[in-house]
């Protein structure tokens, strides 16, 4: 990595993150988080999801505003295309999580980023969700992420940023490992 006269600034407050890690040994319970979203059906395959509150650091927490997301399917599925599909939100989440990780790891390693661009793609065989072939799964058959990164670093240092980001990514973990899911009706 190159030493420049201006301090490296990727806009990530690494000190705050390391500060949290520093107090965990004495207060491990503050690490217990709960994330939430709600969803309301609108019509057809269109629904609207909201995200506003979460729990963590021993307390109820709130985003600075209520975020809303339209979810639908495209015209090609005979739907109204009021929003992107649920599986595309998964790609948004993965790309967002990995890219936040790249920025944070770069800051921690004193690497100045100039641009970071990722293309996230997933393959899916519709035989699965249409119930047309029991041997085909509903979900993705594979996911690929391709990064183009311009930074003050060697090619191997940039590869190491991306590898470390995967290693510490929640969404990458959620997608690559099984997670227990319970759904009930009240």
């Amino acid at each position: 990595m190159t030493t420049t006269e201006t301090p490296v600034d990727n806009g990530v407050n690494v000190e705050a993150l390391l500060g949290v890690r520093g107090v965990l040994p004495d207060t491990p319970e503050i690490a217990q988080f709960k994330w939430r979203s709600t969803v309301d059906w609108v019509n057809g395959t269109h629904s609207r999801s909201h995200v506003e509150t979460f729990y963590g650091f021993n307390d109820e927490q709130q985003h600075h505003k209520r975020f809303s997301y339209d979810i639908d399917h495209p015209l090609q599925f005979a739907a109204q295309d009021n929003g992107v599909t649920p599986v595309e939100y998964v790609l948004v989440a993965l790309g967002g999580c990995l890219t936040a990780g790249v920025a944070a790891v770069a800051q921690q390693r004193s690497i100045q980023l100039r641009s970071v661009k990722a293309t996230v793609a997933a393959d899916m065989d519709l035989h699965g969700i249409l119930g047309a072939d029991p041997d085909i799964r509903n979900g993705f058959s594979g996911v690929s992420v391709s990064y183009e990164i311009d930074a003050d670093a060697t090619a191997d240092e940039i590869k190491a940023l991306v590898a470390q980001s995967q290693k510490r990514s929640a969404v990458y973990d959620i997608m690559t490992n099984p997670t227990s899911v319970t759904v009930d009706v009240i």
Binding site: P28, D156, A160, A163, Q164, Y172, M175, T176, N177
Partner: protein, 410 residues
Amino acid sequence: MPDTTTVIVGAGHSGLAMSYCLAAQSVDHVVLERADVANSWRTQRWDSLRLLTPNWMTRLPGYGYQGADPDGYLDAKQVTALLEDYARASGAPVLGGTTVTSVRAAGDGYVVRTDQGSWHALTVVLASGAAAVPVMPAVASAVPAGITSVTPAGYRNPDELPQGGVLVVGASASGIQLADELHRSGRPVTLAVGEHVRMPRTYRDRDILWWMDAAGVLDQRYDEVDDLVRARHVPSMQLVGSPGRTLDLNALTSAGVRLAGRLAGIQDGVAQFSGSLPNVCALADLKLNRLLDTIDAWAGMPGERPAPTIVRTAPLRLDLRSGEISSIVWATGFRPDLSWLDVPVLDRKGRVAHDGGVTACPGLYLLGMPFLRRRKSSLIDGAANDAADLTAHLVSHLDARAGGRERRAS
């Protein structure tokens, strides 16, 4: 109750190194050993196992290899014989057949209870080993009936396992060696690979450990690393004690071993593997290249780099009820057994909290743990420096205590 200045728990290489250093400082002590010197080398090693470090590197305080094969690797019987000879030559006061049942603070020292009576000691050194008990992940309880499960501590040779496919869980030194041996025995092997430390046996015609030793990599101190928690949990190097032989994932796949991602779960008898195999291989390749960069910088010239790890399409599921898998080898690590330690020095995960082997309880020390004081602390070769450092600390603790007494008396 007999009195001594120091009780050392465990007569492996660490405990014996500590005994040697204490004797050199005329500190009265005993070494309590549940069975015989080098017990785990007698009872917990598979038949083909050899040390990962070459003979010239098998150094202890006052001992260096003098044999005819400095570049060879000792087998378990040879390590046992070496430690027996070392204990004898150094006159270590080992009390064998003495199992420690509790250590607790008493007055200004400790009471060490054993099945052969109790000792009172001013100081105690815990040297019973980092690898006392094999660790199996929680998912092991979900393995369907009829499948044989073994750990590296209990495994001896392929003949003990049923015919048929083997799932080896874990790709550090034990996992890759057992995957290789079981594959050679004619059993189809699937190797579940999580984070690992890729290591060529040789680099530029020398043992990789020669380079790490010469370039000072193994001397890196615990107070010099960025992330000590991480450094203390780095898995063992993918090495086998065989001259010139690199046993990495590429070697295993070209021999016909099938790789899968980390074992992530077992549901309804079906093993599920993580989709993270490409990334754990990328991490290991990048980490190896950083090590080789360090070596090149020290040597002043570049060497030929190993080819990147080849990751083919890996299975995400494996039905353990289909008959394809007959046995599972859990090469998923070890942990210490300090269940008898009744002193409040454990962290919330039950590990001894320490600063380079010095605990918060005055006079209580820990030895023989990964990256205790240096990167080489997990190797036999690391015991000499660590034992010397802890002996210096222990002696100054005794001096300060004696000084305080004199001051109080005057």
